[in-house]
Amino acid sequence: MIQINLLPPEYRKAESTPIARFVAIIAGAVLVTSALVAYGYVHYNELRGVREVRGATEAEFTNKKLQADISKSLQTEINAYEARRKAITKVASSRVLQSRKLDELLDVFHNGGDKSAYFVWLKSLSVKPPRASRRGKQTTGGTISFGGFSETIEFSRITNLREAVQKDTFYEDMQGISSPVFKAHFWDDDKLPRSAGKFSFDLTLKPLGWRRSNKKKK
């Protein structure tokens, strides 16, 4: 049946929105609104909050770092003192009191004025430091060498001198003494004596700081 609405438009009943479109509009509105709310929450709450936390953490880190730098500077200073202390110990312990060794040796040569065992006069005396070693510890503390003449050409006088050197406190710092080099020597001038025994000795010192090492071992 064909229906014709003869009422003027202003009196006609309004047509309702189609269901599909209505549902689509409502669903769309809900979706967009939810998304807006979610975005607002995430952006203005969460993100801002996290950024504030990061700012505070950075400030805390800057402060802690300043203090940590102070702590490291203190440790650097302490390390520098320790290094200087080690260097000073090395300087002090790598020292041979040459005046003591020479004093002791001169007493050996003089032998209290007693000439019966030996009587010598020297041409030269030299003291040399140990050679610098590139690897490991030094094996000696240097050398003492001397040479001269013995009053007689009897070899026993030189062995007596060698024994006296070895028995004296002077020898405590020595590692070893060479075998005597000896030769009868004659002069052709008007001075006396006209003959003497020419000799020389080399002594090797113990490594520097051996006394300190011994004390530590005890």
């Binding site: 260097a87 020292r95 040569f109 001075k191």
Partner: protein, 479 residues
């Protein structure tokens, strides 16, 4: 415009909704990603903070250790000269040479060790080589004085070649080559020195004392020479031309006169030596240590000369009557003198408490009047006379420490004065919030004057400021 159909409207509605929500969804996703990144950065910062906190937790212990090291630093390096004192080195050598009798013919810096590249250390060796002339005893006393010097000087190597002919004074001196090394250090221990708050209070803490007890101060070894009276110089050759004696065994008039002159000379010299020994004893009783050293040196030289002349006289005096006089007037008294000299040489002259106090009072006066050069000179003289404070009576040892302290404080104040500190303005506040303008900078209490933090403003008064550095307080007036 044609109206859209229902279907088109539906599609449009759905599209708009999808586009809008999709756009918002993208923004949300982007923000969530940013949040993740920020959280990652926060985590990294927290890890770094934890590391920094571990370092910060060590500050108290490190402060105590640093304080202990700073307190002991001056004593540790006591035997090392500062760079500025190296110039004294040559004056010291010259003085010891003069006192011992050796003659310096050449001094030059050594090239030893320059070829090898050495690691940079806080302590730098300064080598020297020298050429000398002297007897064995003179050389021994020279190197002994060097090795006993209050600043470390090492005798590295030497060689002695026996002299050939005596000098104009009759002494046979030998050619000596000597290599020495001294060491110096830089006072600047590190590029940054941290200023420690409440330093004075923390210095008294038990932990600092514990660290101080652990640190061993390296002592410099020294040696006292043995008595060498009558000891022969082994470098002097015994080969001599035989003495020509007249055929009639020295009974000729000329020869008798010569022998008598020789004998009288020995008697006179013996008399001079006896008088010298009496004077030496007087000086010892008076405790005039400075002149005593000189007199001992003179007596020893005369004794040695007399011993040699007596040896010659024994062979040359042949007349029996003169030989008898030689025995009675020379040999017997000489034996007595020999024992006497040995006894005096073994005695150890020590400075009494009164003498040490006199030195201290004199040095304190120089300190109070700011006469730093005189203070240094006075301390040096005291240390020489008392063998670095060792040869003093037991009850004077505390005063020796006070003398060292005066020297240290004097040096600190002298270094401070070199800085030319100027206090232009003081804004005084009784509640401790005073401020002063010092060298153009505004400083308050506990601020550091220098970048290294070695000099702290301890107190600001109405018209003065008290600075604290190396444990010494220095008051400076405004202006």
């Amino acid at each position: 415009m044609n109206r859209l159909t229902e279907k088109q409207l539906l599609i449009l509605t759905i599209s708009v909704a999808v586009v809008l929500s999709g756009g918002l969804g993208f923004l949300i996703w982007s923000d969530l990603k940013t949040i993740d990144e920020e959280e990652g950065k926060i985590e990294a910062l927290r890890t770094q903070i934890a590391g920094a906190e571990r370092e910060v937790a060590l500050i108290p212990q490190r402060e105590f250790r640093a304080i202990a090291n700073r307190e002991i630093a001056a004593r540790e390096v006591a035997f090392l000269p500062e760079l500025s004192e190296i110039e004294e080195f040559w004056n010291v050598l010259e003085r010891y040479a003069s006192e011992s009798g050796v003659q310096i013919s050449e001094i030059a810096p050594s090239n030893a060790g320059r070829r090898r590249k050495k690691k940079k250390t806080s302590i730098r060796p300064i080598p020297q080589v020298m050429s000398l002339r002297g007897t064995a005893d003179e050389f021994l006393r020279f190197i002994n004085a060097i090795e006993n010097h209050d600043r470390i000087i090492n005798v590295v190597e030497y060689s002695i070649k026996a002299g050939e002919a005596p000098d104009s004074d009759g002494q046979l001196r030998h050619g000596i080559k000597l290599a020495l090394t001294t060491f110096t250090y830089s006072k600047k221990i590190a590029s940054t020195i941290v200023s420690i708050q409440k330093y004075e209070k923390k210095r008294e803490h038990a932990r600092v004392k514990q660290w101080l007890s652990r640190i061993k101060i390296q002592e410099k070894e020294s040696y006292t020479l043995r008595t060498s009276l009558g000891r022969r110089d082994p470098f002097v050759t015994v080969r001599k031309r035989p003495v020509r004696t007249p055929v009639d065994a020295g009974t000729g008039e000329q020869d008798r006169a010569r022998q008598e002159r020789m004998l009288q000379n020995l008697v006179d010299q013996l008399q001079t030596l006896s008088e010298g020994l009496v004077f030496q004893k007087e000086l010892q009783e008076r405790e005039d240590l400075w002149r005593l050293q000189e007199q001992i040196k003179e007596n020893r030289a005369l004794y040695r000369q007399l011993a040699e002349q007596i040896e010659s006289a024994r062979q040359e005096i042949r007349i029996p009557e003169l030989q008898e006089r030689l025995r009675a007037e020379v040999l017997e008294p000489f034996e007595a003198i020999k024992k006497n000299m040995a006894a005096i040489a073994d005695a150890n002259p020590r400075m009494s408490e009164v003498q040490v106090r006199a030195h201290y009072d004199k040095l304190a006066k120089h300190f109070d009047e700011g006469e730093w050069d005189l203070l240094e000179q006075g301390v040096r003289e005291f240390l020489e006379q008392s063998r670095k404070g060792q040869h003093v009576d037991e009850n004077a040892k505390a005063m020796v420490a006070q003398i060292y302290e005066l020297q240290r404080k004097g040096r600190v104040i002298r270094d401070f004065e070199k800085r030319k500190v100027s206090i232009t303005t003081i804004l005084y506040s009784p509640d401790g919030m005073s401020v002063a303008v010092i060298n153009g900078r505004q400083l308050s209490q506990e601020d550091a004057l220098d970048p290294q933090g070695n000099i702290i403003v301890a107190e600001i008064g109405e018209n003065y400021v008290i600075f604290e550095t190396e444990g010494v307080e220095i008051k400076k007036a405004q202006g």
